[in-house]
Symmetry: C2
Subunit: 307 residues, 2 copies
């Protein structure tokens, strides 16, 4: 039996009260076959992001327990933060990792959303690959107006009705945006300059929103601790636009502006295949595929044991 | 509980009789927690190589069952092949993969060797990291004279006594060389020429045996199917001399001879970290470590389940 792995990265609208975050983490950690890979709380955003991985059923169960705890403990009426949000459990994306396709993650998201409404009475919007209408593919559209405006719109505006549940939102927990999306790589490239306008120009040239590379989001920022300008990027489909394509594009644009790449950094975790694809490119490897990765081969040959 | 993985790559002196190879594979496959990743039989060498991976105890048990079956079925007195060998089960190297160090693989090798003698009455020589004397670190020294000469020497020559068991060898199964070694990468680089003498010159310049890169074995060969000269390499410690160092060295030497790299190929499996190290080099990544690899993080966080 081959290994089947997904990831889920729920975002919760609590980034200040450590006891609430701990309760959510405890609920998530109580499921065998799912593991918390990372969690991060931001007091300014008043938001916590938890990364769960494991077998599909276990991850969905763990995420559900986390959402239930958030619904119980978080009151959006008393929440403010710089980050847009519509729910106590704000977004719940399911991400294929290994042996599971996007279609299955969409099904997991849909079943998850039905359960959230059925058991918690919190309405659900589906986004990205799980969206049921084109307009809801983009999370920004789903979250437009945030909790405060959406609770009115969800009562009166036909176009803003939840996909599951309603009418209206949950009085304290709002709604949950449940999605399915690809693995997101966070990758930053530092330039040999402190002129942030150069990083901004490069970001504009390479990002999809201004006609650049598909599935690349980019902005220029100043790394004040090192006085270096940085092109900060998200790659939302690294198989379509891999790391090395982004690196080479930034290098070319930087050279055209008379600066060079000082270095790069990986934020968070990366699938081995994302880095191995880049290695294969630079090594001119003719026969690379993810099949050559030892750990993946081992995992795929092992008896499935809930992992 | 973190994941603990080793590999074992036993070589058996049977590459022609499919029934014997199947019996050995069946014995190896009967152990839960160990998996056969690959196997290859070569009729010219009259030899089969089987790659097993899994938890240390399971892999050692699987390898033992394979050796026992080989001892039962293979008679070296009726065996000839171009490859040097001293035993029905000729070499049994244990290789650290994840969460297990070389010192532990040496212990595994030693316990394995004691058991082979105790239960099968086949004497054992320890080599590479498991060697008990400097002279036996190199497998070539252990196998000198092959089965035919060693069975005499093991009776009369004090320097050729087995590390465990003896005096003399097993009458039909000979002896087993049991070792512990690092993961071996097989990596070939093709040149934009059919002149194999150029590949041979590059191989001489980069390999350790002629003063080149540590832990690199290299030879020049002609890829007759494509009429390309190839530098064919084994990297016996990819953390000391990584893929990108080898690639850059071959590129430099090739350019100095007026040719270029046409492409490269990976033979067999590679640990994700080996390729990711190369990616990090070419991407100028400042913060790469194997900790960023998603699959490794997942595995290390999962409850141990015999894998």
């Amino acid at each position: 039996v081959a290994r089947r792995l997904i990831e889920c990265v729920p975002n919760f609208s609590e980034g200040r009260d450590a006891a609430v975050v701990a309760a959510i983490l405890n609920a998530i950690s109580s499921v065998a076959g799912a593991a918390v890979l990372a969690h991060e709380s931001d007091p300014d955003h008043h938001r916590s992001v938890i990364t769960i991985a494991g077998s599909p059923d276990a991850v969905a169960e763990a995420a559900f327990r986390g959402v239930a705890e958030a619904v119980r403990l978080i009151d959006l009426n008393r929440h403010s933060g710089v980050h847009p949000r519509i729910g106590a459990a704000d977004v719940v994306p399911f991400v294929p990792v290994d042996g599971v396709g996007m279609a299955e993650c969409v099904e997991i998201a849909h079943r998850f959303g039905e359960r959230v409404w059925r058991e918690l009475k919190v309405p659900v919007y589906f986004y990205e690959h799980a969206a049921r209408t084109a307009a809801r593919r983009r999370l920004e559209n789903v979250r437009r107006g945030r909790f405060e405006a959406l609770r009115e719109a969800a009562l009166h505006d036909a176009e803003r009705q939840p996909d599951v549940g309603g009418p209206g939102l949950h009085p304290t927990a709002g709604a949950v945006a449940v999605g399915a999306r690809k693995f997101l790589l966070a990758f930053n490239i530092n330039l040999t300059t402190s002129d942030v306008s150069l990083a901004e120009r490069i970001a504009r040239r390479i990002r999809q929103s201004s006609g650049g590379l598909p599935h690349v989001k980019a902005m220029g920022v100043l790394l004040s601790s090192r006085n270096l300008a940085q092109v900060s990027m998200n790659l939302t489909d690294y198989e379509v636009t891999p790391l090395h394509v982004v690196y080479e594009a930034v290098r070319r644009e930087a050279e055209s502006l008379g600066v060079r790449i000082a270095g790069s950094e990986i934020i968070g975790l990366m699938p081995a295949h994302a880095l191995a694809m880049a290695a294969a490119h630079f090594l001119q490897c003719e026969n690379y595929s993810s099949e050559v990765l030892l750990e993946g081969r081992i995992a795929s040959k092992m008896v499935d044991c809930g992992v």
